[in-house]
Amino acid sequence: MNTNNEIVIVGGGSGGISVASRLLRISPELKNHITIIDPAQFHYYQPLWTLVGAGVARKESSERTMASVIPEGVKWLQEKVVRFMPKENLVKLGNNETIPYDFLVVAGGIEINWDGVKGLKETIGKNGVCSNYSYEHVDYTWQLIRTFQGGNAVFTHPATPVKCGGAPQKIMYLAEDSFNRTGVRDKSNVIFGSANPAIFDVQKYREALEKVVERKKIDARFRTNLIEVRGEEKQAVFENLDTHEKEVVSYDMLHVTPPMQSPEFIRESPLANEAGWVDVHKYTLQHNSYENVFGLGDSSGLPTSKTGAAIRKQAPVVAKNLAAALKQQPLAAIYNGYSSCPLVTGYNKLILAEFDYDKNPDESMPFNQAVERRSMYVMKKDLLPVMYWDGMLKGTM
């Protein structure tokens, strides 16, 4: 292998760090030849925020400094990327510096568009409006749930791709469970306003979740999209995606899953597909136009759910195929679209959904994972964070 090859990884999230660690495990000679570019000061284990919003985890446990998660032997450039120049093998940084590369990995994540819902930005964190998709405001979710006195508790799912598609409903199930415990459930309406056509994409888990929704007496409204929040009036405006009719729903608590999009520096770049995501091959994760570019994670245009579990399976594929490309060997590693969603359905209950590109279950456990289980809840709450920090980010899991 030519050890003069320089590898640049754009993004120091789950995908970028995992790939860097795995590359070093596969090819130790790449030490000091890998650079991660990310302007962030902190790295977050965001799956924990569901439990933080439900009052059973501390948000501080989800935060570590970026410096502490950068693998040894990897250089970190704390800058933002503003432009890709794949024909010249260069990336341009916010400080106008250009960084050359021989191989590029794009793991730029997904961007929350707080402006995508009228009035949301102005009222998030007050007026009964919360979101688990913000480290800053996740505490407010728990404050609203534990002090809820009854009325309309509204939960939303937007009409865009989101990171962890199960999270919008997980917090709803936990809130409903909490309302039961605090004795206000009888005075409450739990409403789920979702732009999706059903509660879940994969039939096996959809059937199980439909029973959960029925048992919990949740008012699930599909193909309806939150377009405006009127904080002062405590009103949420939804639009029916088929009829375009608008409906105003009064709320006493509103949990918003904001619309999300590909980051601008990616969607406006030559690396993006028509939808703005990095245009990679769905099996090899190599860029469809530039052979020395690979992509993974939320910023990639892969037709599967954007989850941390998906990245856990994508990272080894990128690392192996990039190592093969360095040696001018064929790309042998294949990603089958695996994604997973630990659907918390209450305190101590969880359905572990795992599936592939074809929406077929791709389960790891020897039992029926469509059943709500305490064991899986314990795994999510107590074991997965440690597996993330010490396994996935270290390139061993």
Partner: protein
């Protein structure tokens, strides 16, 4: 004729080469370094002599041979080697798994934040159990304390009095129900 012509030609080319200043300089350098080169050649001769002596030393050669001899090298060993080679890919895969597991365990052991998290979670599960245990211990301590301070003499009438206690009556009801259920089962 041809031979003397070739001789003259080679003398000419030698003269031409010697006339070259660079060649002249090289010859001068070589002459200057001759004593040093002679010493080097002498050292080389010593090494060769030493090697020759070792090769002539039959007891030493026999000793080395016996140390290097592979006594068990037969067809069975070769077949095993080939079988091992065939299994190497799966063995490497297994070793990689073990290596990854070890790396994971090592990473946890060196990660104080993860260790704190795991301890915190374990404590959350242990706390109710510990609380129950503490309640049980308090109960036992209270009973023990009362028993030690009680110097009263108990008679058969005291036992009759206990029989009226609701807790004892409840216990009897369970014993009675158990016996009835057992009898019904046996009757079937």
């Amino acid at each position: 004729m041809t031979s003397s012509y070739e001789h003259i030609e080679s003398v000419d080319s030698l003269s031409a080469a010697l006339a070259d200043p660079e060649v002249k300089q090289s010859i001068a350098n070589l002459l200057h370094r001759l004593p040093e080169l002679e010493k080097g050649i002498g050292s080389l001769e010593d090494v060769v002599d030493f090697g020759q002596t070792l090769l002539d030393d039959q007891p030493f050669i026999d000793g080395v041979e016996s140390k290097l001899a592979i006594q068990q090298l037969d067809m069975e060993t070769l077949a095993a080697l080939l079988a091992l080679l065939e299994k190497l890919p799966s063995l490497i895969a297994a070793i990689n798994k073990v290596e990854e597991s070890l790396a994971f365990v090592t990473a946890i052991s060196q990660d104080s934040e993860s260790l704190d998290y795991l301890t915190e979670q374990a404590n959350a599960y242990a706390a109710p159990v510990m609380e129950e245990g503490r309640k049980g211990l308090t109960f036992i301590a209270a009973v023990k304390n009362k028993a030690e301070q009680d110097h009263q003499r108990y008679s058969i009438f005291s036992i009759f009095k206990w029989l009226k206690d609701p807790a004892v009556q409840k216990g009897f009801r369970y014993i009675n129900a158990t016996l009835e259920t057992l009898n019904e089962k046996q009757a079937r």
